[in-house]
């Protein structure tokens, strides 16, 4: 059928076996993030616009920390930084860049979400959304940035390519950390 030969079928079987076993693991890992997301259920209903903002905030967390990991990985490979924590040189510039991006982008996502909500006729409190986004963003980044740095440095020290390790690891840990920080930020700001 479709011009497949025996080799193709063997490869198909291998592909299905490998993808399914890895898939089971990441499906279970992401279900933990889903479980944490359940604790945000009431807040999503109580705070108008929060649901609109949520996917953007989760995306940002992944994009900012994964690109930080990728840049640090390149810097380590090129010998531009040493595999240890240092507040200087390329390491410092990368961390400052990520902190500024994190704060700026969290404000941008809150403003865009408020405008989107307004266009849909939902009365969102823009100051509250910005407050939640900044507070949750700062809390999450202060956990995720050292984690991204540690994973990159440790994987490099063990002879692994940080590019293969940091992004997938941050993707899984990041959702759980970010959603938990959102829950805390809502608890602090919404009474």
């Amino acid at each position: 059928m479709f011009g497949f030969n025996d080799d193709d079928f063997r490869e198909l079987k291998e592909y299905i076996k490998e993808s399914t076993s890895i898939g089971f693991i990441y499906t279970l890992a992401e279900l933990v993030s889903g479980g944490v997301l359940l604790s945000l259920q009431n807040s999503l209903v109580v705070v108008p616009g929060l649901a609109i903002m949520l996917p953007g905030i989760l995306d940002l967390r992944g994009n900012i920390s994964s690109t930080l990991g990728a840049r640090l990985g390149s810097a380590l490979h090129m010998g531009w930084m040493k595999p240890r924590f240092e507040w200087k040189g390329d390491e410092k510039e990368n961390l400052i860049g990520s902190i500024i991006l994190s704060v700026t982008m969290n404000v941008i996502v809150a403003v865009i979400a408020s405008i989107t909500a307004w266009l849909l006729g939902i009365e969102a409190n823009i100051a509250l959304l910005i407050g939640i986004a900044i507070l949750a963003g700062i809390m999450a980044m202060s956990i995720l940035m050292p984690v991204a740095l540690a994973i990159t440095i440790e994987s490099y020290k063990h002879g692994w390519d940080p590019n293969n390790v940091t992004a997938p690891a941050i993707a899984t840990i990041g959702d759980i950390v970010m959603i938990s920080c959102l829950v805390i930020a809502v608890k602090i700001l919404v009474r």
Binding site: I16, Y26, T27, G35, I52, M53, L60, I64, M105
Partner: protein
């Protein structure tokens, strides 16, 4: 020094803002699902659900690229493999999430839940694979590596397609 924070911020802010704008589609879909009778049963699977279609379509895109370099055309092999794996993973996700919800909260029948997750999952995976295959053709014509173009695009479109289809089908089957 090779990196400067100003340059990092300047280069990243455009693509990140674009990604945020795209994420509003998922946000609007999620907001429209807040009146669902069984919101919890949808919220719990969202991170895994969008990961499955995103990862599997990225794998199809990567395999198609490799096949192109090796001079092989096995498009249907890659597509049927990904759809089969997707079917198994969505069913697994529905089963684990339903069992967890059964222990902690009120949840409807397993058959309804399984139907929603597998139907929305396979449909969104089908759309994503369609985009991956379409981008392969465009990449070939433009003499570009298809994975350079398709993987970033697939990850941003994937969330929007996944969340929108999941909420739409859940609303259709569960009702508001």
């Amino acid at each position: 020094m090779h990196y400067h924070w100003k340059q990092i911020v300047k280069e990243s802010i455009g693509p990140l803002t674009l990604a945020v704008l795209f994420s509003m589609i998922s946000g609007i879909s999620l907001d429209s699902g807040l009146d669902l009778k069984e919101l919890a049963s949808i919220l719990i699977i969202i991170p895994s659900f969008i990961n499955i279609s995103g990862d599997l379509s990225a794998v199809v895109a990567a395999r198609i690229s490799t096949d192109m370099y090796m001079g092989k055309t096995r498009r249907w092999l890659n597509i049927s493999g990904a759809l089969f794996v997707g079917l198994v993973l969505y069913a697994f996700l529905a089963l684990v999430a339903w069992s967890f919800l059964k222990l902690t909260a009120n949840v409807g029948s397993l058959v309804t839940y399984l139907t929603i997750v597998v139907l929305a999952g396979v449909l969104s995976l089908g759309i994503m694979i369609g985009i991956a295959v379409g981008l392969e053709d465009i990449g070939k014509r433009l003499h570009m590596d298809p994975s350079d173009m398709s993987i970033p695009l697939l990850s941003s479109v994937g969330d929007a397609v996944g969340v929108s289809l999941l909420i739409f089908i859940a609303k259709m089957i569960m009702g508001v």
